[in-house]
């Protein structure tokens, strides 16, 4: 066991993966000497060399596009997109090329590429540094989208993502980067929870609360507050946005009869809509109240001085729980 921050856990996960497979390359802007703007790749170029930790020109489409070529050659590129807001120049390469090459080629071509990306708000930064673009990727057949909320998952899920033959968008909750937690580094990857599984964090009978990435901590906080009032929330960390582990969710919602979905991205068109649609169908006779969504509002990310009013917090989650309980 080790106490690691999420940044450090990902760094260690990358290191372990690179140690075990020489085909793994890292690519991105400033990931070499600088170690990335969040230091996730700190020290890796020094240890693995400039050929395996590649500082790229400033062109996101170029990074993903050349990573595709490298993967066709037989490498396993792990691409860093510096910030969520800078992924869009690469959108075409990601959703039209990366996502479809296996399908296009009827299985002949495999692109085992992982795209790492810090995402989400709450860090007081300027425009384009606080985005939650996950719904775009989760709506794209051919991509996998996962996100971690604690250090142990950060460590294992990045390794699982890299080991997968599918292209994986690996979302890193940037405002939790420095949150520390236990990491079971002695384990084997096969012991770790499958990256596509949701994880029940607290057992509760009153209402299911589902979050992912940066909002998991907020959900847990809400659960603690609720517990003080005698309300038992079942908090679930979704972990995988594509595929969605419906059976874990349905089991919980069938038990509690209530669900609150929490994410930072705008509500409309967000992951929450898809989840609410599926749960409303799957738990039709069990739901005591409509599935509630607690999300960012349907606006571009606002100036940081009011980001706390935009981001879901424990109060808003508890309001939704209350609304659900009183419905």
């Amino acid at each position: 066991m080790a106490q690691l921050s999420i940044v450090h856990a990902i760094n260690q996960g990358l290191r372990r993966a690179m140690d075990s497979d020489s085909k793994i390359l890292l690519m991105g802007e400033d990931i070499g000497k600088l170690g990335g703007v969040f230091r996730v790749t700190d020290g890796l170029q020094k240890d693995f060399g400039e050929e395996r930790v590649i500082d790229s020109p400033l062109a996101e489409s170029g990074i993903v596009g050349t990573a595709i070529g490298l993967a066709l050659y037989g490498y396993r590129p792990v691409v860093e997109i510096q910030f969520d807001g800078f992924v869009f120049p690469a959108f075409d390469q990601i959703v039209v090329q990366l996502a479809r090459m296996r399908y296009r080629s009827a299985g002949a071509l495999t692109l085992p590429i992982t795209i790492r990306m810090p995402y989400g708000g709450g860090i007081g930064s300027v425009e384009h540094h606080s985005e939650s673009p996950e719904a775009y990727f989760a709506a794209t057949p051919g991509l996998r989208v996962i996100t971690c909320a604690d250090s142990n998952d950060a460590y294992w899920m990045i390794q699982q993502a890299i080991a997968s033959d599918d292209p994986v968008i690996f979302l890193e909750p940037k405002r939790r980067y420095w949150q520390k937690g236990e990491v079971n580094i002695e384990a084997n990857m096969s012991d770790a929870l499958n990256m596509y599984s949701a994880k029940v964090l607290t057992q509760g009978s009153d209402c299911t609360v589902i979050g992912y990435g940066p909002t998991v901590a907020t959900c847990l906080q809400a659960a603690r507050f609720a517990a003080d009032d005698g309300v038992k929330l079942e908090v679930i960390d979704l972990r995988s946005l594509s595929p969605i582990d419906m059976s874990t969710l349905v089991e919980s919602v069938n038990k509690t009869g209530r669900a609150v979905l929490v994410h930072e991205a705008p509500g409309t068109g967000g992951i929450g809509g898809e989840l609410a649609a599926r749960l409303s169908q799957a738990c039709f006779y069990k739901l005591e109240a409509p599935v509630m969504r607690v999300t960012g509002y349907d606006v571009p990310y606002p100036p940081s001085r009011i980001e706390d009013d935009y981001l879901p917090d424990a109060e808003r989650i508890l309001d939704a729980v209350e609304k659900s309980m009183n419905y």
Binding site: L25, E51, S56, P57, A59, S61, G62, V64, G65, T66, A67, I68, G69, L70, A71, L72, Y73, G74, Y75, P89, D92, Q93, V96, Q97, R102, Y103, R104, S105, A106, G107, A108, L109, T110, P141, G142, R144, S164, D165, D166, P243, I244, M246
Partner: protein, 364 residues
């Protein structure tokens, strides 16, 4: 920038050899005959596919008419271990890589998105998104470099990559980013731009006011213009660039100046924008005709060989007609195959749904 006003030509439109300070033909008679055969058969293939589209057997087809020399000359300069990344029009390249013309039809008939195994032929298949594959080619070339397969000096080891695209593609961000990456890493990639004067209805001057080969210079990449209707020049220039690439001297941009003699695709109506007189002018420069004259003049191409080739061509056409109609339609439920490497429960449910619908409709 005078260098870009001149175009490397080794065989003029009358079939006469032209002297060039930098390049000379290294091709044997049998190689030249081979190129001639390639061009004739590829033109046949193209005409036959166009006809099949007209008959409703294909959804669409993008003719290569007029671009035979550019494609055959360049692709024949490739080694087996090289790799080609193409657009929707490079049937001639696929031909040189050994792809069966019937396999080419799968894409256009809509039975498969990729009609052959890219790794087997070391040919990537058709790419529709303009410019996207220039980056894939560059990345692949970077891979060869990382794998130590550049500059080793071993003839069968060193690799290079060909990236084919058109004059229109030169405007896309992706192609320019490919130049950036290729230059930055000195990747062994040859960008082969067939300037066929048109991007659908738009003339090349809408994309650029300077010769396209010149674009390379600003990226620190050598650029060279070649007569795209001269198969010998296309071969020599590409062979030179591929050699540079394989031996570690980095990327090259080749602009092959040619003309799209057919429609953009079978859906297009070029009379809306092409001048008849231009087309006539370029007909004079036909790539097959000039090599034919040359070969005849040299006594290399006998009437007997001609007849034999005509027979080969009509057999090919016949086989395409026959086999196109026989191409198996995919099973509806195959739409769920290969979306992911791992099994997906959600998709398996949907597959079951599609299978149930089919059974239901068969019962009705």
């Amino acid at each position: 920038m005078d260098q870009f006003d001149s175009v490397v030509q080794l065989l003029d439109s009358n079939g006469s050899v032209v002297a060039n300070s930098q390049f000379t033909s290294t091709l044997s008679q049998s190689e030249l005959l081979g190129f001639y055969r390639d061009m004739v058969l590829v033109r046949t293939l193209d005409e036959q596919a166009t006809a099949l589209q007209r008959q409703g057997e294909l959804g669409l087809w993008a003719p290569l008419l007029g671009q035979e020399a550019a494609q055959i000359g360049s692709a024949r300069a490739m080694q087996k271990q090289d790799f080609a990344f193409s657009t929707y029009r490079e049937h001639g390249v696929a031909w040189c890589r050994g792809v069966d013309p019937v396999d080419m039809l799968r894409f256009w008939r809509g039975t498969m998105h990729q009609g052959w195994d890219a790794n087997h032929y070391r040919d990537y298949g058709y790419q529709i998104i303009i410019g996207a594959h220039a980056l894939h080619a560059t990345g692949y070339a970077m891979g060869a470099q990382l794998a130590g397969r550049v500059g080793s000096g071993e003839a069968e080891k060193d690799q290079a990559v060909m990236a084919y695209f058109g004059d229109g593609a030169m405007s896309e961000g992706d192609v320019n980013e490919a130049f950036v990456f290729a230059a930055s890493y000195q990747a062994p990639v040859v960008f082969f731009c067939q300037n066929n004067q048109w991007a659908i209805s738009e003339p090349t001057r809408r994309q650029s006011r300077t010769p396209l080969a010149q674009r390379a210079v600003g990226f620190g990449i050598p650029g060279i213009r070649v007569d795209g209707n001269d198969v010998i020049a296309c071969y020599e220039v590409t062979e030179h660039a591929l050699h540079r690439a394989r031996s570690g001297q980095g990327p090259t941009l080749i602009e092959a100046v040619t003309y799209r003699m057919g429609a953009h695709t079978t859906s297009d109506d070029p009379t809306k924008y092409q001048l008849f007189s231009d087309v006539e002018l370029w007909r004079e420069r036909d790539p097959i005709k000039r090599l034919k004259i040359y070969l005849q003049t040299k006594g290399i191409l006998s009437a007997e060989l001609e007849t034999q080739l005509a027979g080969e061509a009509s057999a090919l056409a016949q086989r395409m007609r026959d086999e196109c109609r026989e191409l198996p339609d995919p099973k509806p439920s195959s739409m769920f195959d290969h979306v992911y490497a791992d099994t997906d429960i959600n998709l398996e449910k949907q597959r079951a749904e599609v299978e149930a619908i089919l059974i239901q409709s068969m019962e009705n």
